[in-house]
């Protein structure tokens, strides 16, 4: 049986899935495609008609959406909590990462990191930072007195939420008002699997 395959390099959202795979020590074949390079070619569209990375392939079974791939990888492993209520919370935090954290954070990252310098607009980045602040406050409040999102155990919820903040340090966001969030993220960033997934 062929190894499962992950498409997407460590500069793409595939880094979230790489992180999970390294945490699990799961063997896989890595196809480090870059975002937008070949992802709309017929060969790749035959695998994922949406033409985006990451894409996860097990034989002829295909899954896309980075956070869904992580939930799939985490199933039946120690990264997936056992109590049904904690599973619901892990799903909630993952959805929050997708709908609240990521879009607001990317608005900042786009104009401070992702775009070439001549296409960045600091005004837009500042607006984005304002929209992001209540979200970081919410996360910070939740993390007060907790080592991880679901309590004292590291789970896929931590990977999925921290995964959307991979460009945070480069985005020059003032984290002084959010010490619990900052500390939690620093602990996760210190994991060797995190560094490896991000090519650092």
């Amino acid at each position: 049986m062929a190894l499962p395959r992950l498409y997407g390099d460590h500069n793409s959202r595939a880094n979230r899935c790489l992180w999970t795979l390294y945490e699990l020590g799961q063997p896989f074949e890595h196809v480090p495609m870059a975002s937008g390079v070949g992802t709309k070619d017929a060969a790749f569209l035959a695998i994922n008609p949406w033409g985006k990375i990451p894409t996860w392939v097990e034989d002829d079974w295909v899954l896309s959406e980075s956070l869904a791939i992580n939930l799939h990888l985490a199933r039946r492993t120690a990264l997936w909590p056992k109590p049904p209520q904690d599973r619901a919370r892990a799903m909630q935090w993952t959805m929050w990462a997708a709908t609240e954290a990521e879009p607001n954070f990317f608005a900042v990252a786009r104009h401070r990191v992702l775009r070439p310098p001549e296409r960045r607009e600091e005004r837009v980045a500042i607006e984005g930072e304002q929209a992001l602040r209540p979200r970081l406050m919410y996360l910070d409040l939740h993390l007060r007195g907790r080592d991880f999102l679901l309590g004292d155990r590291f789970t896929v919820a931590d990977i999925n939420v921290a995964g959307v903040f991979s460009l945070l340090r480069a985005s020059r966001i003032d984290l002084a008002p959010f010490p619990s969030f900052d500390g939690w993220l620093a602990r996760l960033e210190a994991r060797p699997t995190y560094a490896k997934a991000h090519g650092r």
């Binding site: 008609p49 949406w50 079974w61 899954l63 896309s64 959406e65 956070l67 869904a68 939930l71 799939h72 199933r75 049904p84 209520q85 599973r87 619901a88 919370r89 799903m91 909630q92 993952t94 959805m95 929050w96 997708a98 709908t99 990521e102 879009p103 209540p134 919410y138 409040l141 939740h142």
Partner: protein, 206 residues
Amino acid sequence: MPALPKLYGDIRSRATRCLWAFYEMGVPFEHVPLSHGSGETKTPAFLAINPAGKTPALVDGDLVLTESLAINLYLAQTYMTPLWPRDKDAQMHVLQWTFWAATEAEPPAVQLAIHRVIAAPEKRDPAKAAQAEKSLAPRLDHLDRHLEKSGRYILGDRFSFADVNVASVLNFLRRAKVDMTAHPHADRWLRELEVRPQYKKAHGFD
């Protein structure tokens, strides 16, 4: 007897998605139709439930859950329903489509709804609406091509939470007068869902 699950949020909020789920599943629940924008979601009593002050929120026993689509996935997995496939691989595809709905379909759909339906007429920006419609087109195209192959529903013959979660983020398409002629399969699929009594009830159309 354990208390009924309690859903906070009125039909003018994303609670419609969870209402639709409850009605489809036939699970009894208590509806607390808090209205956002009225201050009802910022009272100390509600902030104690959801510190973000947002609806929908679900309280089921000692579990408090937010994020409309996560609530739906929880309901699907907690209460017996044929809308949650038994096959694990199919369950993962429900997740995939739910995240696709949240990250790809919803942002332009909401932007379009705001500038064509929800905002007061003087606050609507036709340029933003046009931009949102343009961004939505390839998404509808993807859904259309998928439905052309998959058949009646997203997972094939069976109506599932993949349909509920994707269709519920597209619930403003008609009112926003999106031209669906280029997306006949998505159009046919959405029409079939929109006439379900449970969908109408969740949206206050009945």
